[in-house]
């Protein structure tokens, strides 16, 4: 049944390619609505003919409104935009409301990346990303897209760091924000050594966050990462760790992550194996019993080679 395209003279030169299902009872088959079915028939036809035109752009927009998770339509749309030299700023304005409606869609983000890459400017993207994160502050695609943006336009600057801090400030348990901080501060360096002042700053930053909520694993992971990356011994954190977990006061542990790190510090000290064992026992029995298997595994490693033992 022709609806939009079949009865439209501007499409009269195109013969739609009907859906082919392979056999009489295809699995997971969809009883497509006529509107969708017809539009897809025309898409198959123009794709087969490699048509890149304004009318095809309209067709892709129509299908995306019916099914935004259709990667084929997005990929073909990107090609059409490229071939007809479309105004890419217009494309971004069209894209914004669509993206807001479909936060978890891979295609929209990849499409956006393709367009912004061609536009050659990150202008307006920061505020747009912030709007998205207000709805879903840990959205994986949004954060990954932001990282691409930072890399593509070399935005490793103070403003980006300050924005990341504001995200951590808003929720110190937002691990995506911590990962972004790592990406900005450490990731940009590649294999190069970190300046001592940066290492100090990052250690202080993570420690301050831990003091606010010692059971929050995000800054502990960050702290461990920085110390490892700077090739400092884990024991350099011992005094700090003892603020939260001291074997002399086993009933006054404030953080299982501190106890975990303490076990690691003792593990690396040949004379402190008993202390390491005690810390791991406390974790297995009292402070993190669901992971008792893991803590006992770590205990088992105490008697094997030192190389196999290090965590932080």
């Amino acid at each position: 049944m022709p609806i939009l395209y079949g009865a439209n003279p501007t499409w009269a030169d195109v013969t739609p390619v009907p859906q082919e299902d392979g056999g009489p009872h295809p699995l997971a088959a969809i009883a497509y609505a006529e509107e969708y079915s017809e539009a897809m028939g025309y898409l198959r036809a123009v794709m087969a003919a490699n048509e890149y035109s304004q009318r095809v752009l309209g067709l892709t927009e129509h299908i995306i409104s019916l099914n935004p998770a259709h990667y084929t339509v997005w990929l073909y749309r990107a090609k059409v935009l490229d071939q007809i030299g479309a105004n890419l700023a217009d494309e971004i304005s069209w894209l914004n409301p669509t993206a807001l409606q479909h936060l978890k869609n891979y295609q929209i983000w990849h499409h956006r990346q393709t367009i912004i890459d061609k536009l050659g400017s990150p202008e307006g993207e920061g505020p747009f990303i912030s709007t998205m994160l207000e709805q879903d502050s840990k959205n994986y695609h949004v954060w990954s897209y932001r990282q691409w943006l930072v890399k593509r336009f070399d935005l490793f600057d103070e403003a980006e760091l300050a924005w990341t801090e504001s995200m951590i400030e808003a929720d110190a348990r937002n691990n995506s924000a911590w990962n972004h901080r790592w990406f900005l501060v450490v990731g940009r360096k590649g294999g190069q050594a970190l300046e001592e002042s940066i290492v100090d700053r990052e250690i202080q930053y993570a420690k301050a966050a831990i003091r606010k909520a010692p059971q929050n694993q995000s800054p502990w992971n960050y702290l461990g990462g920085v110390v490892r990356r700077a090739q400092l011994p884990a024991s350099s954190l011992k005094d700090f760790v003892l603020e939260f977990a001291d074997l002399d006061e086993p009933d006054k542990v404030f953080s299982s992550h501190a106890l975990d790190l303490l076990a690691d510090i003792y593990t690396q000290d040949e004379d402190k194996k008993d202390e390491a064992r005690k810390a791991l026992d406390l974790l297995a029995v009292k402070y993190d019993p669901i992971r008792a298997h893991y803590w006992n595994y770590r205990k088992g490693l105490l008697d094997s080679s030192p190389a196999a033992q290090q965590i932080a």
Partner: protein, 465 residues
């Protein structure tokens, strides 16, 4: 120190505490219940920060919704001898037969993901012990329509090839099995298509002009291995211009760059560590060679194990996908299935709490009317059904890797994954009965035991014609 203190009086953790500490609980709720409360009390984390953020609020609300299912049996399922809901086999089979069937017009948004629905449903059904060979013919022709002339599969007829769709299509054909199913795959075109996806930095894109992430690397290795395609890149592969000659060039290094400072694995270098991508990374490496060799070579194993272990939520018992995220039934597989690979690489077993995950799946992830869910309150779907069941299988069965690589299948390249052995059931602190057993699942391919070997052996020595 005053920041970390006893939980506030409204928190679920306190409710747990009060319930399980009270002397009269047995009179009120009976012995079966008190077993659970004793267990929950034992695994509940005693430490809690006062600082309230969006994350802690979401965590509290989630636990509030889940606890009734861990404490009791709101769905009124029959219980096993551990007082846990039995695996609702019949209901799940009925649900998955439905997800394999017809969909109404408003389901058009799944048009590009149809291959996934076949894979999840078929894999879920076999995990429940169903024979799916009756679907063979329909699976073959459904995918014949979705195969692209240039190689690989799209979501359906006329759609561009995509590695996720191709992965789901190939695994579905492997599950139903048989020469006709295998030979319906255009291997030569597939080889060219995969060659097209290989990127200069060693990774793979999901589609022509599409995103590059670790799913691509995993899916490509799965397909190359199952179809026994040449490791050599086809002559028209664009990455040859960057000096590549093999699919494997720079691949291990690329996966290695996806391991981040937390120890987990991310979608692409620089991104956040995430459970689903972790399985893809470990799966990819476990196809490239024996896990003992490749995991230890390309990953910081102590750090990886630390991160994987941190994914187990307490007291829920299920896994979260990332640090400070919520428990979700699909990670029963994405994290749960990492353990067999990691244990093979580390030479140690018993690194994780199988029993706690099993409890979460049986008690909290079964939907009353059939199908499995992310968490109580969510609707069931084929995806969460398939991956909760794969996770349940991971809690019940012990797999080891045969370093000697004996056996006749998997002698050539990418042959490592054909050398897994099943070492029987995990009995220690188990929370299931025989009736709750899920069938054996291949630890890397997540298809029924023996099916991957049958497919590989069909293609071994065939070359690309």
């Amino acid at each position: 120190m005053s920041a970390a203190q006893a939980p506030s009086s409204t928190s679920p953790a306190v409710r747990l505490e009060e319930l399980s500490d009270s002397d009269f609980e047995e009179e009120i709720i009976g012995t079966a219940m008190s077993d659970h409360l004793e267990y929950l009390h034992r695994v509940a984390p005693p430490l809690r920060d006062l600082l309230e953020t969006d994350t802690s609020k979401a965590q509290d609300e989630t636990l509030e919704a889940i606890l009734p299912f861990l404490e009791g049996n709101p769905n009124e399922f029959d219980l096993n001898s551990h007082h846990l809901p039995k695996l609702q086999r019949k209901k799940h089979v009925a649900f998955l037969e439905k997800t394999l069937g017809n969909y109404p017009a408003q389901m058009a948004p799944m048009d590009a993901a149809r291959p996934w629905f076949l894979y999840w449903s078929l894999q879920g059904l076999t995990a429940l012990g169903e024979d799916v060979s009756k679907y063979q013919e329909r699976v073959i022709y459904t995918f014949a329509a979705a195969q692209h002339p240039m190689g690989g599969y799209g979501g359906g007829h006329g759609q561009l090839p995509h590695l996720a769709a191709t992965y789901a299509a190939v695994l579905s054909l492997v599950i139903v099995g048989g020469a006709e199913a295998y030979d319906s795959i255009n291997r030569k075109a597939m080889w060219h298509y995969l060659g097209n996806m290989k990127q200069a930095d060693g990774g793979f894109t999901m589609s022509p002009g599409g995103e590059e992430d670790i799913r691509g690397a995993f899916c490509a290795m799965v397909i190359l291995s199952l179809l026994d395609l040449p490791l050599e890149l086809p002559p028209d592969a664009p990455s040859r211009a960057h000096g590549h000659t093999s699919f494997m060039d720079n691949l291990g290094g690329w996966v290695s760059r996806c391991q981040n400072y937390e120890g987990g694995i991310s979608a692409a270098p620089g991104n956040e560590a995430h459970g689903a991508y972790a399985f893809c990374g470990l799966g990819c490496l476990s196809i490239m060679g024996s896990p003992t060799e490749t995991l230890n070579k390309y990953l910081d194993m102590p750090l990886l194990i630390h991160w994987l272990s941190s994914r187990q939520c307490a007291p829920e018992g299920g896994f979260s996908g990332r640090t400070n995220k919520l428990v979700d039934g699909c990670y029963s597989h994405w994290i749960g299935s990492c353990w067999a690979l990691v244990e093979a690489a580390s030479g140690k077993t018993g690194l994780w709490n199988r029993s706690a995950l099993g409890r979460y799946i049986l008690a909290a992830a079964q939907f009353k009317k059939g199908g499995l869910v992310d968490k109580p309150g969510k609707r069931p779907d084929a995806y969460h059904s398939c991956y909760n069941l794969a996770g349940l299988s991971a809690t019940q069965r012990v797999y080891t890797f045969d370093e000697a690589m004996n056996g006749n299948v998997g002698k050539g390249h990418l042959g490592a994954p054909y050398h897994w052995e099943e070492k029987g059931l995990y009995e220690e602190d188990k929370a299931w009965d025989e009736g709750d057993l899920v069938d054996r699942v291949h630890p890397v391919f997540i298809v029924p035991w023996g099916k991957a070997e049958e497919c590989r052996s069909h293609f071994e020595g065939k070359g690309v014609v």
